[in-house]
Assembly symmetry: C2
Homo-oligomer: 493 residues x 2
Amino acid sequence: MSKEITSRSSDYSQWYNDLVIKGQLADYSAVRGCMVIKPYGYTLWENMRDVLDKMFKETGHTNAYFPLFVPKSLFEAEEKNAEGFAKECAVVTHYRLKANPDKKGALMVDPEAKLEEELVVRPTSEAIIWNTYKTWIQSYRDLPILVNQWANVVRWEMRTRLFLRTAEFLWQEGHTAHATKEEAVAEAEQMLRVYADFAENYMAVPVIQGVKTPNERFAGAEETYCIEAMMQDGKALQAGTSHFLGQNFAKAFDVKFSDKNNKLDYVWATSWGVSTRLIGGLVMVHSDDEGLVLPPKIAPLQVVIVPIFKGEEQKAKLDEKVKGEILPALKALGISVKYDDNDNNRPGWKFAEYELKGVPVRVAIGMRDLENNVVEVARRDTKEKKQYSLDGLPNALQNLLDDIQQSMFEKAKASRDEHITKVDTWDKFVKVLDDKGGFILAHWDGTAETEEKIKELTKATIRCIPLNNELEEGKDVLTGAPSKQRVLFARAY
Amino acid sequence: MSKEITSRSSDYSQWYNDLVIKGQLADYSAVRGCMVIKPYGYTLWENMRDVLDKMFKETGHTNAYFPLFVPKSLFEAEEKNAEGFAKECAVVTHYRLKANPDKKGALMVDPEAKLEEELVVRPTSEAIIWNTYKTWIQSYRDLPILVNQWANVVRWEMRTRLFLRTAEFLWQEGHTAHATKEEAVAEAEQMLRVYADFAENYMAVPVIQGVKTPNERFAGAEETYCIEAMMQDGKALQAGTSHFLGQNFAKAFDVKFSDKNNKLDYVWATSWGVSTRLIGGLVMVHSDDEGLVLPPKIAPLQVVIVPIFKGEEQKAKLDEKVKGEILPALKALGISVKYDDNDNNRPGWKFAEYELKGVPVRVAIGMRDLENNVVEVARRDTKEKKQYSLDGLPNALQNLLDDIQQSMFEKAKASRDEHITKVDTWDKFVKVLDDKGGFILAHWDGTAETEEKIKELTKATIRCIPLNNELEEGKDVLTGAPSKQRVLFARAY
Ligand SMILES: [Zn+2]
Ligand SMILES: [Zn+2]
């Protein structure tokens, strides 16, 4: 397989696919729209999951697991939610295959094993979970319930792209139940902050926190909070959402609790999720034409050491230094490191390979280096190379990893900020969208009609109304109708 | 809900259900045969998963993720495997729901959204994975592939029991590819040892390692290795399996590699798995009529501290000691601990609750204890109570947890050993099975016919031929035909 990466400028979309596939993150599968997450990509996901899981637990949540299937009658109970997902549901209708009498060795669906009630493969789990919470909740003493689930979900998308939009994806979905509206809103807002913290401080991806317009809300939510990120091609990506669900699911599933005064009321709900889609955003924010660039805090491998030698004797000396001293010292600092002394490939091939895979730091060590007590260190993000003394190398590399993490965030933030444009006329709106892309801050009259019209005309949507948005009198960028604030428009993934 | 547990002697099966449901491990769901794993049960599963995952990684494996769905044509490629699972497959036939014109608010399967090829919800992933490995493997340099997947699978069982046999369950499935038969066999044997190590040293469940008879092999395997455990009711439970798959899947999916001499050959395979079923076994091996008894190394909570006080002033003094000193000291040792100072429940209620949930160590502390610099410590497994000095308490509790772990294993092993009976006549075989249960070591003539006849007559199956089985001339316990060794019979879950 060629390791050549299509450049961003020649074909952005092919560049992305090349990175994902040749960078060994994922690949297409035999199942339409479903991907195989390869070991390197899955290790990245594990690292992301572990950080998030720790954040969820620190904010009082525990994990549980609910069924993959949702009986159709439960699925349809919350009408808006059902309507929102009905068009993309994989449906199990039978529970047995049998030998096909017309074709030796082949199987067919057994018509006698038809389910009485069809089962929807969960596209999201509000229905099955609120049907369960009904049995868990009687009194205020049973509240709050702060539960998260790590799971696979299925949404039958027509156009799919690795990580960004796949029929099956992995995600976490938090589902909480509360005695008061205030507490539920506070929970939804807290989880949005957790997501923003994770995106910025671990993925090195700057995000804008906001709320969706009613049009763009999650089906069944009263308020959808989101974090929005900017990709290198000027398109936005919704990186995480947190929903205040009001009492909609409690009413659909009749979940009431008695408060301290023995008064019955419906329970208040939130749900919130991020998915393997984050990996698509991570790839698109940081990578370059040579391959992936991964932030040290979640990279599957932080440091790779490549020996440069001729013959067994030189190899033995390098091995002694690296295996005897450097590897144990790096591991003791919690740095993930690989010594690639594989004989089958030359150093140049290895350099290109680890560049493609986005390993943050590459260390090369040869005989002259050993004599001079130095190594050559290359950082992936800037491609800068520098000699480092072997004395104090572990701490120096630890600091370098911290530097890279910080500098990747700053670079992404500068690029994102450069791609926020204030626009006051329709001509400029269209022109900026087409020529520069990015986020556009423009006045909106607050009506769904205008929002839809702008989407029709330009494919730009309102990504969010930023939290703590500055109020400012103005005129809608399309209709000229009075507006009280600018909102964030963009074309999006 | 009543906390009363049915006793083992009055109704073993109800006792088991009571433990699982009232012990807060899991519950039935609205989906036939699928369970909800509750936070307490899921934390137990997380602890088990984390230990196993570490063991897998230490033996060179990495995780990946493959699609939930298997197209029917791939599913049927390996004939024996397909035949083995066809009868219990959930099948997706449609990808959309639509509004039901005859019933307002209701949905129906959209007949126009019928899949061209049906998708089987994976009952196991050999087919989809070997279809993928075909694209990963060209030469011996690509081998071995040592991959594991944590996933949900679905097998449409007719009679289900929480954890032991559910339509959907969680598991891990390792799938490895090798250049030689010897290497594949060694891998399958290695993973069996990993499972035995986990069962005995973490779950405190003694197991017998062996191989299945051809009749009882995994569909598509050339050899199935297994670990077998003994429950308190005298029935066996298969706790894990590791399969040497030969070249069966490589042939079914045409996966060849070129060796060092450029000669093409089919790749050799293994697969191995354990599931949430282990939790069922864990419950049945250790628990008693008061509730769960969980081994410290994987218990969701290792120590609970219950304060005994009257009034705010006493409470404040206990809080100071516990929160200020004891909790931080225990946590520093890596002990998971909860201080239950909830005002809603009385100490006696709490004692019963944590007994039911199987928390290994309960610490009670009152005002007089504080004055005497002691606490009362109760261990769950033996129900023994003892005073411990507050001086050195953390290390003493750490030692106690180790003791409990060890002593739970020894108790289970003594009981298991007492339930292995050598039998030489058919009358005794039937009598032991009915009166005492457990494992029966008896001679078998090696034929499938006899094996099936014995199963028909007694519902006992050959659980395994133990590894390193002693050879011994004898006569088949049923037919009297010559036999070279005893094998392990039992009735099983
Ligand atoms: Zn630009
Ligand atoms: Zn007995």
